[in-house]
Every structure is written in structure tokens, then in C-alpha cells.
């Protein structure tokens, strides 16, 4: 039931915030803060007290799931209000609410028009994201996928910068069009499964057992990929992102970069990998290539941007390249790296957007050509920017390094050359990151007035992020432990047959349609050993 509360609190909080705007201008802020804080605490509670339950036919994986909620919604169509949380989702939720809290705090002074409606949208975006991370019903997943889209459209379109209309439309059309392809794929999967078994259901756990012909699997996979790759985004589907990120208000940019992009990565992990193992293996080299192109293309474009938010937006394109590179490497190192990347990128890029917001509040420009030399009057801001710039270029000791290094270690096992090119991205990251420091904080000050340093509220936002990024860099184990069971479960289809050399296993099932139902659940969880992983890649290459 707690899971339902997470969504309900946010949605009701949003409505309350809207209404409370009639009473007082600051009340919506407090309502929003309270709601997000409440769900954050609830999620922490879930994380600390995992109930360890078993869902689906996957009996032996055992303690993967922490909690679930299941209620038929439209039974005749097989749609149920089904929520469940495992390690992966709980991490994503923690990230969501942490970023959500920051989003409320940074809007405290920035947003002065339509305050109540702003907070309504903010909370509904968060609710949509929460739903996406929680739902185990594909219909409901699509529903929440749209729920997070519309308020985001308003956030950009109403409170954004000069060119906000254009950016909002672009964002909406890109994500909506790709989302529709996913809906088609969901329906396709639904009918194929229904035809096979006679049970028409949208339940994730049921659909996992669908047997798909290779062509069908390929088509359906591309449907899902369309939505997730656009959201992630992957070059060449990225061009909505720089506009949306740079035109959105700070809170919007932070949520876009920190959370919305992550829903794409989450979708790849949760749906694409386990649903279409055969098709993804086929597609993997191309996906990794797209990842590498994204890493390099984003980095080159980031270097020449003069709009700070646009620059940071392109760095996101580059960083998300690592995600797709890792996801399609199909091993635990890479996937742990991907999960870490989702979290650390959310923090570090979020922080850079927040700094861009601080600067915009003071200077009313995002043009870095007009900035410079701010270290002398704003050393605190300088130090914090330095930390996140370093995080973004992958300095060891900060969380992003763990993420990128693990991803690359994993992808190296899958593909040497592509990984080598991806590693070159680290040099390019250095090139654009140092430019941020140089143009904003170093060199001579081009402004007439000295830049005021961070105040107490701003430090309250910045310090937790610094602490988090350091913690993730120096002791990421709690995160890795939380994510491990989920990752192993998503990977089961890829590792198990080869580790055990079992004649019939999930990966082969697709071809052997005569033998249904031998899927998750008959195998014991394996202690992953590097040697056996290596063996996989040797044998599969």
C-alpha cells in the first residue's frame, strides 16, 4: 500500500498546492516541499526495510522484490493497477525524490509567476516519474509515461526562457511520437501473448513469458527502443534535448536531465533487456555504436556552445552514450556502471544546471562569453562548480568515475574497439569541462559588478549534492548492493545459458518454440565470477 501512497501523496499534494495558491503565495512551496519530503522518507523506509518477496514464476531469484501492490483495474482487458519495487526501482525513486526536493528548493526564488500551478506541475511530473519506476503493468506504464510528459510540457512552456514555446512543442512531439510507437509495441506484445496463451494481460511478469518469433521480437523491440532511445537520448534522436534543457526553468532542466532521461535508461533495463533477449543481442553492436557516436558527438558539440545550459545539455547527450554502451554489453559490471551513471549523472548534471540557475538569477544571462573571473568574488560557488565539473569529466573519487569506469570495464569485455573510442570520450569530456571552469570562474571578470557568492539557501542545496557525489565516489557499495539482484535478474537471459552451458534456456527458447515455459525460476541465482563472464564473451564472439 505504501507504493500507492507514493503516487497519491504526490498527486494530491499537487492539487493541494494548486488550491493553496489561493490562500497564500508561499504556501504551495511548503506543500510541495512537504509532499516530496514525505515520499522521500517513505522511500528511504522501503530501502532500509526490504521485505524480500517473490513475484511471478521466478521463484528462485527470491529476494528480488521489496514490495508490491496489485489491484485489478480493467479486468476484462487484463489491465491491473500493479506496482512493485525492487532494488533498481528503489534507487530510481530515491534519486527522483532527492532531485525533487532540490527542484522545489531551487524554485523558491526563481519562480514568481503562477506559483501554485507551477508546483502542481512539478509534483505531477514527479508522480508520473514515480509511476514509471513503479509500474509492473505495461498499460499503466504507458499511462504514466504520458503523465510525466504533459506537466513537463507546461513547465517548459510557461516558466521557461525566451524560446520556451518552440522548445516545449519540440519536446512534446519527439517524446509523444516515440511513445506512440511504444504503445504499438505494447499492444503487439499483448496480442501475441494473448493468442498464445489465451490470457490477455498487460502484466509485466506474465508478458515476460511470451514466446516471440525473431521478426516479431525485432519489431516489438524497435517499438520500445523508439521511446527509450529518444528519451535517453541517443544521437540522432537527441535534438529535442538541447532546446528543452536550455529553455526550461532551472527546476525543469534539473528534472529533465536528472530524471526524465533516466526513465529511458530504466526502460531499457526493465523492459527491453528481459523481453527481447535474442533481438537485443543482435542489435547490440549497433546500439553500442550509437552509444559511442553519442559520446563523441555530444562532447564535440558541447565544446563550442556558448549558452551554459545548452553546453551542459550536450554533455548529457555525451554521458548518456555511456548508458546505452553499457546496457548493450550484457554483463554485470557494465549494468552496475549504468545504474551508477543514472544516479551520478542525475546529481552532477543536475548540479551544473543548478549552478547555471544561480548564475542566471544573478546575471540574467546564460552566455558564458559574458562571464569570467567569478572565483574571486564567489569562491564557494567556484569550489562547488569545480567539484561537479570534475565529476562530469570523470575524476576518480567522485561518483561518475565509478559509473564510467565500470561501464567501460564491462563494455571492454563485449567490444574492444568501441570501448576504446568511448574512452576517448573521457579526453573530450576534459576539453569541454575545463572550458566551463575557464570561461566562468577563471580569467578576467567582464562584469561591472562583483558576483555575490552563494547564500545559505543555495548552500543548503549544494552541500547535500557534494556530499552525495563524494559518497558515491568513495563508497558506492550500498548502491551496488541494492541494484545487484535486479541487475542479475535482468541479465539472467544473457548469462545463464552460457554459464551453465545449459542446452535449453531462455535465450534459446525463442528458437525452440516447441518447448514453452522454461524460463525464469528454474535456475538458481549464480555468483557471478569474472572468469565465467569472460568465458561467455569468448564463446559468444
Amino acid at each position: 500500500m505504501i507504493l500507492v501512497w507514493l503516487i497519491v501523496i504526490l498527486m494530491v499534494g499537487g492539487v493541494l498546492a494548486w488550491i493553496s495558491g489561493k490562500v497564500n503565495r508561499t504556501l504551495p512551496r511548503w506543500v510541495a516541499l512537504g509532499s516530496v519530503l514525505a515520499v522521500f522518507v517513505l522511500t528511504l523506509y522501503i530501502w532500509m526495510n526490504p521485505l524480500a518477496i517473490v513475484i511471478g514464476s521466478n521463484q528462485s531469484m527470491g529476494h528480488t522484490w521489496y514490495m508490491r501492490f496489485d489491484q485489478p483495474w480493467i479486468p476484462q482487458w487484463g489491465i491491473s493497477f500493479s506496482l512493485a519495487v525492487d532494488g533498481l526501482s528503489v534507487l530510481m525513486l530515491l534519486l527522483t525524490f532527492f532531485i525533487g526536493l532540490l527542484a522545489v528548493l531551487i524554485s523558491w526564488r526563481e519562480i514568481q509567476t503562477k506559483v501554485a500551478f507551477f508546483h502542481f506541475n512539478l509534483l505531477w511530473v514527479l508522480a508520473g516519474i514515480t509511476g514509471v519506476f513503479l509500474t509492473m503493468d505495461l498499460f499503466l506504464f504507458y499511462f504514466f509515461w504520458e503523465v510525466m510528459l504533459i506537466p513537463m510540457y507546461f513547465l517548459i512552456g510557461i516558466w521557461g526562457h525566451e524560446n520556451r514555446r518552440y522548445a516545449a512543442y519540440k519536446f512534446f512531439i519527439f517524446t509523444q511520437a516515440s511513445g506512440l510507437l511504444m504503445l504499438l509495441a505494447i499492444l503487439g506484445l499483448y496480442f501475441i501473448h494473448g493468442n498464445q496463451t489465451g490470457v490477455y494481460t498487460f502484466s509485466y511478469f506474465e508478458l515476460l513469458n511470451t514466446t516471440l518469433a525473431p521478426e516479431a521480437a525485432r519489431l516489438l523491440m524497435f517499438g520500445f527502443l523508439a521511446a527509450f532511445l529518444v528519451k535517453l537520448p541517443v544521437v540522432p534522436f537527441h535534438s529535442w534535448l538541447p532546446d528543452a534543457h536550455s529553455e526550461a526553468p532551472t527546476a525543469g532542466s534539473v528534472i529533465l536531465a536528472g530524471l526524465l532521461l533516466k526513465t529511458g535508461a530504466y526502460g531499457l533495463l526493465r523492459f527491453v533487456l528481459p523481453l527481447f533477449p535474442m533481438a537485443t543481442v543482435e542489435f547490440a553492436p549497433w546500439a553500442m555504436l550509437l552509444g559511442v557516436i553519442g559520446i563523441i558527438y555530444g562532447a564535440i558539440l558541447a565544446f563550442s556552445q556558448t549558452d551554459l545550459k545548452r553546453l551542459v545539455a550536450y554533455t548529457s547527450v555525451s554521458h548518456m552514450g555511456f548508458v546505452i554502451l553499457g546496457v548493450f554489453s550484457f554483463n554485470e559490471w557494465a549494468l552496475q556502471g549504468v545504474v551508477m551513471q543514472m544516479i551520478t549523472h542525475g546529481l552532477s548534471t543536475g548540479a551544473l544546471f543548478i549552478i547555471a540557475g544561480f548564475l542566471y538569477e544573478r546575471l540574467h544571462t546564460r552566455d558564458i562569453r559574458q562571464m569570467g573571473g567569478f572565483w574571486s568574488t564567489a569562491p564557494k560557488m567556484g569550489v562547488i562548480a569545480l567539484i561537479f565539473v570534475m565529476a562530469s569529466l570523470g575524476l576518480p573519487g567522485l561518483g561518475n568515475f565509478i559509473a564510467e569506469f565500470l561501464t567501460l570495464v564491462g563494455s571492454w569485455q563485449a567490444n574492444n574497439w568501441l570501448t576504446a573510442f568511448a574512452t576517448i570520450g573521457l579526453v573530450m569530456a576534459t576539453i569541454y569541462s575545463l572550458r566551463i571552469m575557464q570561461k566562468i570562474f577563471f580569467e578576467a571578470n567582464r562584469m561591472e559588478q562583483p558576483l555575490p557568492d552563494l547564500n545559505a539557501r543555495e548552500m543548503l542545496i549544494a552541500i547535500p549534492m557534494v556530499v552525495m557525489i563524494l559518497w558515491l565516489g568513495l563508497y558506492p557499495q550500498p548502491i551496488l548492493d541494492t541494484a545487484r539482484p535486479s541487475i542479475q535478474e535482468q541479465l539472467q537471459a544473457y548469462t545463464e545459458p552460457l554459464i551453465e552451458q545449459a542446452p535449453i534456456a531462455r535465450m534459446d527458447r525463442i528458437e525452440m518454440e516447441a518447448i514453452p515455459e522454461k524460463t525464469f525460476g528454474t535456475k538458481k541465482p549464480k555468483e557471478a565470477k569474472p572468469s565465467s563472464y569472460l568465458q561467455i564473451f569468448k564463446s559468444s564472439n
Binding site: V409, T419, L474
Partner: protein, 628 residues
């Protein structure tokens, strides 16, 4: 005894943290206490551990502080490893570091960013210690990148000057190129050994791979890529001369004594991998030989005293690579230590001069300082003698002589490497004493302002003593035959195998080295003191000036890289600033809009047009259906 190990890097880190948090709110005296004190206590702990280590001589001491992470068997720890090799490095880092910190209290006294300076310096010392104490390559990489960051922050310390920031950025990016190669090397090592733990890799590699193994070669070359980046060797040496934009104590500590020798440490630490691939060893030696010559010639033509020393550093690290390349591991490390003493000394002396001359760095505007700054003069002279390998009484003579000797006597050496080293020694003593004569002799050209006090002179004197006496712990076979240093390292670094019956030539080679060194000094004396007109006659020759400019610019590497990499990259980025992929979507949008306008024009609201349209359409459909 290992319990204290973690304190050695933790103390400087703690100092840095305190200074970052409270640096702006506390007095300068307190900043100095924290900044200098943290490194000082760290040095004291090193001393205690060193004495205990020497008395009990364990193979190594390991201390795990915590497990960094563990993913599917990839489980690096935050763990420290102390053995003879790391001991030498820790000793140099903490003690030379401590002296330079003391020196900095006076050098930086006037600077308004006093606490930022010490915060960065402490952070550097901590990271550098992390680098040499790490028990696995990932932690080593953390230190490796950490020192890169500090180097960046300190080169660009005076950030208001764009040139300094560009120099800092250049240093970071170029070393990062090397680091990337190294990172790929780590991926490969992990792929083959399933761990990055240095000891395990070293033990296993020797068992799994035979000499000449191709994978070992690739890994060694990738690690070498990292090493040349950090150590300013060809082809990634171009950042180091520009790194002199930082305050002089920074140049002394980071860009001479410690960080630039990280590559030497890496190769010595991973010597098992290198020893398995003769080609990589040869690459190390050749890179060393070529670098030491190129940098030596470049140093001959510089006027900025710090740039002379920078090129000299590149050249001397070249000697270390030369030693490592022929398998003379401990000679390379020995030269690292001695170089650490005398190069830090020379830089600190240069700093004292620069401070005295109101931040003048051009040697053409110096002169006659031997009377005005006697302590600086005599200590500089000792440092210069050591750099020029002045026979018998300087430490540099013994460390360099050993390297040269092993080029011939060592099994992997050859005559060309030896000749390169010998020629390099000749050039070294010329440019060194050119520096001495230009700065300290002749007439005084700039007014001497600040006279150094205790905080500057005491470190100078201590380093001078070390530069003089440091050599006596390792003396050649035919001359005292002291092997304290190589014995100390013997458990870690195997001795180089020597060609039998070659010993009888040793005295001849020593004599030759001595003559070369003295000859270089004499030439410098002739050209820069006795007969300066000789220089002017050279300056009149067009050809000589062309070479002069070529060398002065560091053999045109900057221009080459600029044309090959920088400008194409910037161009590519600028030309595509607006993202050509987006224009495809804009095109789609425009087409849609165009069609919309096209069709909206047909909605005229005039009935006869519609009727005409229907009739024409009907006729067309009928015609088509009839024809088909």
C-alpha cells in the same frame, strides 16, 4: 607497525579539507600551521615507519582501510601497500614536499589566495602519496588523476591571466590523453587477470605470459602512454614547459620533484609486465633517449630561467626512462630521488631569485647575483653541479653515471643509447652553467628587492646537502662500491644483468663522463662569461638563428599539434555548433508547414472550384481505371 600507514596520505587530505572549509575565516598563521603541519606530520610518520621498516625488513606492509566497491568479482580496496619502492617515493614526496611547503610560507606571503594555495598543495601531496601507496591500479589511478587535478589548479593558480589558465588546461588535457591510454590498459589487465591488484598481477603475469607475449606488449605500451603523459616525455611533453605558469614552489614540487616522475614509478611498479615485452622496453629506452636530447637542446635556447629548468626536467626524466628501458630499474629510481633533491633545489633557488627581482624571470635581465644573494648562489651552484654531473663531489654524477654505464654494460643496452645519453650529459652541463653564468655573474641588471629569510634559506641548505651527499649511498664497483640503495630495492626491483667481463672498461667510461661534464662547463664558461662575443657571432648567422628559434619553440611540437589536433577539433566543433542533425528535423517541420499552406490554399470556399475539382478528379480516376 602498519597501523599508521593510512595517516601518511590522510593527513595532507585532512589539511586540504580544513583549508577548503575554513581557509577564508582563519588567520594566515593558522593556514600555514595546517598546511605545513599536515605535511610535516606526514613526513614524521614516514620517518617512524621507515625506521621500523628498515629494522624489520618485511617484504611489504599492507593496510586495507575499506573496500572501495565489489562488482562481480571486481573488488578494489582503498588499501595501501608499503614496500621499498613506495618507501623511496613516499620519502621524497613527504620530505621534499615539507621543505617546499615551508619555503612557500615566505614565497606566497603576499598572495591574497594564501589558503587556496596551501589547500591545493596539501591535496596534491595527499594524491601523490595515494598514487605511490596504492595496492591496486584503480586506487593508483585515483591518485594519478588527483595529482593531475592539483597540477591543473596550481598551474592556473593566478587565474586572472588567461595565458595561465590555458597552460593549466593544456596540461590537464594532454596528460588526460595519456591517462586514457592507461585506462584502456587497465581494462585489458582486468580482462586477463580479473583484478587490478598490483601484486597479484605481477605474480600471475610472470606465470601466464612468456617473454614477447603480444598482450603483454599492448598492455605495456598502453601503460607507457600514461607514463609519457604524466612524465612529460615524447610525444606528450609539450605541456610541461607551459606548466611553469604556476607559482615557483609548485614547479619545484609538482613539475620537477614528484608528479612528473609518476610515470617512472608506474613503469618501475609494473616492471614485470614491461620485462615481458622487450619491444616495450626498447620503446621506453628510445623515448627516454630522444626526449632527453630534444629537451636538452631546447633548454640551451631558453631565456626564461624556469623554462630552462622545465626542459631540463623533461630531459632528466628522459634519463630515468633510459634507465628503465634497459631494465636498470633501481638506477632509474635512484636518479629519480637525486633529481628530486637537486631539481627542487634549483627551482626553489630560481624562485628566490624571481622573488628578489620583482618577478623577473628572463635571464637576460639577471646577472651579478652571486654577491647579492650568497646563500642562493652557493646552493644553486651545488644543485647545478649535481645536474651537470660534476665529477666525484655531486650526487648527480653517481646517479647519471650508473645509468650511462648500464647502457653499455647492461644486457639490453646498446651503444646508440649510450651515445645519446653521453651527448645529453654534455648538453646538460652546457645549459646548466649557462644558467649559472647568466644569472650570477656579469653585471647586475635588475635591482634586488626581497632578500630571502630563514623560511627560504633553510630548505635550500637542506636540499643542497642532500644534492651533494645523496650520491654516496650508491657508488660504483670500482670506486667505493656502496650499494645501499640498490640493495634496499633489490627485493622489489631485480638487478640488471650485466655483460660479463665488462668491468674493466668502467673507469674509462667514468673518465669520459667526467670529461664530458667538465667540457660542457668549460664551454658555458667560454661563451657566457669569458667571451660573450662568441655568442653574438652565432646570433649573426641566419642558419644558427633558425635552429635557435626551432629549439626555442620546443622543436615545433606545439605548432604541429595545433595544426593536427587542436584546430581541426575546434573547427569541427564550431562549424557544427548548431547541430546539423537538428536541421533534418527542422526540414521535416518546414515540409509539413509547406504542405499545410499548400492544401489550405485549396480551401477557397468558392463552390465552383470544388465542383471543378470533383469533376477533374472523377475523370482522372475513371481514365486510370479504364487504362489499367
Amino acid at each position: 607497525m602498519g597501523e599508521l600507514l593510512w595517516l601518511i596520505p590522510a593527513l595532507p587530505f585532512a589539511g586540504a579539507l580544513l583549508l577548503v572549509l575554513f581557509g577564508n575565516r582563519i588567520s594566515r598563521a593558522l593556514v600555514s600551521t595546517i598546511g605545513v603541519g599536515s605535511v610535516g606530520i606526514s613526513a614524521a610518520v614516514t620517518l617512524v615507519l621507515g625506521i621500523e621498516y628498515l629494522s624489520s625488513r618485511p617484504a611489504f606492509i599492507r593496510q586495507e582501510v575499506w573496500q572501495w566497491f565489489d562488482v562481480a568479482g571486481f573488488s578494489p580496496s582503498i588499501a595501501f601497500h608499503l614496500d621499498a619502492l613506495s618507501m623511496v617515493f613516499i620519502f621524497v614526496i613527504t620530505f621534499v614536499g615539507f621543505l617546499i611547503h615551508i619555503y612557500s610560507t615566505e614565497y606566497m606571503a603576499e598572495d591574497k589566495d594564501y589558503s587556496r594555495f596551501f589547500a591545493c598543495m596539501n591535496l596534491f601531496v595527499g594524491s601523490m602519496l595515494m598514487l605511490v601507496m596504492a595496492d591496486n591500479l584503480l586506487l593508483l589511478y585515483l591518485g594519478w588523476e588527483g595529482v593531475g587535478l592539483c597540477s591543473y589548479l596550481l598551474i592556473g593558480f593566478w587565474y586572472k591571466e588567461p595565458a595561465n589558465v590555458y597552460a593549466a588546461r593544456k596540461a590537464f588535457i594532454i596528460t588526460r590523453v595519456g591517462d586514457t591510454a592507461m585506462a584502456i590498459g587497465l581494462f585489458m589487465l582486468f580482462q586477463h587477470f580479473g583484478t587490478l591488484h598490483i601484486q597479484s598481477i605481477s605474480t600471475e603475469a610472470a606465470q601466464v605470459w612468456s617473454i614477447g607475449n603480444e598482450t603483454a606488449l599492448i598492455i605495456a605500451l598502453l601503460l607507457l602512454g600514461g607514463a609519457v603523459g604524466k612524465s612529460g616525455q615524447l610525444p606528450l611533453q609539450t605541456w610541461l614547459p607551459d606548466a611553469m605558469a604556476g607559482p615557483t614552489p609548485v614547479s619545484a614540487l609538482i613539475h620537477a620533484a614528484t608528479m612528473v616522475t609518476a610515470g617512472v614509478y608506474l613503469i618501475a611498479r609494473m616492471h614485470v609486465i614491461f620485462a615481458l615485452s622487450p619491444v616495450a622496453m626498447m620503446a621506453v629506452a628510445v623515448i627516454g633517449a630522444v626526449t632527453l636530447l630534444i629537451a636538452g637542446f631546447a633548454a640551451l635556447t631558453q631565456y626564461d630561467i624556469k623554462r630552462v629548468l622545465a626542459y631540463s626536467t623533461i630531459s632528466q626524466v628522459g634519463y630515468m626512462f633510459l634507465a628503465l628501458g634497459v631494465g636498470a630499474w633501481s638506477s632509474g629510481v635512484f636518479h629519480f630521488m637525486i633529481h628530486g633533491f637537486f631539481k627542487a633545489l634549483l627551482f626553489l633557488c630560481a624562485g628566490a631569485i624571481i622573488l628578489a627581482l620583482h618577478h623577473e624571470q628572463d635571464m637576460r635581465k639577471m646577472g651579478g647575483l652571486s654577491k647579492k644573494l650568497p646563500v642562493v648562489f652557493y646552493t644553486f651552484l651545488i644543485g647545478a653541479a649535481s645536474l651537470a654531473a660534476f665529477p666525484l663531489v655531486s650526487a648527480g654524477f653517481y646517479s647519471k653515471d650508473q645509468i650511462l654505464w648500464l647502457q653499455l654494460a647492461g644486457e639490453n643496452g646498446n651503444i646508440w643509447l649510450y651515445l645519446a645519453g653521453l651527448l645529453g650529459a654534455f648538453i646538460t652541463s652546457i645549459y646548466t652553467f649557462r644558467m649559472v653564468f647568466l644569472t650570477f655573474y656579469g653585471e647586475e641588471k635588475t635591482h634586488v628587492g626581497h632578500k630571502p629569510t630563514m623560511a627560504i634559506t633553510v630548505p635550500l641548505i637542506i636540499l643542497a646537502v642532500l644534492s651533494f651527499a645523496g650520491g654516496f649511498i650508491e657508488l660504483p664497483h670500482n670506486f667505493g662500491h656502496v650499494v645501499l640503495f640498490s640493495d634496499f630495492l633489490a627485493p622489489i626491483l631485480p638487478a640488471v644483468s650485466v655483460v660479463p667481463d665488462f668491468d674493466r672498461f668502467e673507469w674509462m667510461l667514468q673518465l669520459l663522463a667526467a670529461v664530458i661534464s667538465l667540457g660542457g662547463i668549460f664551454i658555458a664558461y667560454l661563451f657566457y662569461y669569458k667571451k660573450p662575443e662568441l655568442i653574438e657571432s652565432i646570433h649573426r648567422s641566419e642558419f644558427a638563428m633558425a635552429i635557435h628559434h626551432f629549439w626555442h619553440s620546443g622543436w615545433g611540437f606545439d605548432q604541429l599539434y595545433d595544426a593536427l589536433f587542436v584546430r581541426p577539433y575546434v573547427y569541427l566543433s564550431k562549424v557544427n555548433k548548431n547541430d546539423f542533425i537538428d536541421s533534418f528535423y527542422t526540414f521535416l517541420a518546414n515540409v509539413t508547414q509547406g504542405l499545410h499552406q499548400l492544401f489550405s490554399q485549396t480551401q477557397t470556399g468558392i463552390m465552383r472550384n470544388y465542383v471543378a475539382g470533383i469533376v477533374v478528379g472523377a475523370i482522372m480516376i475513371l481514365t486510370i481505371s479504364l487504362l489499367l
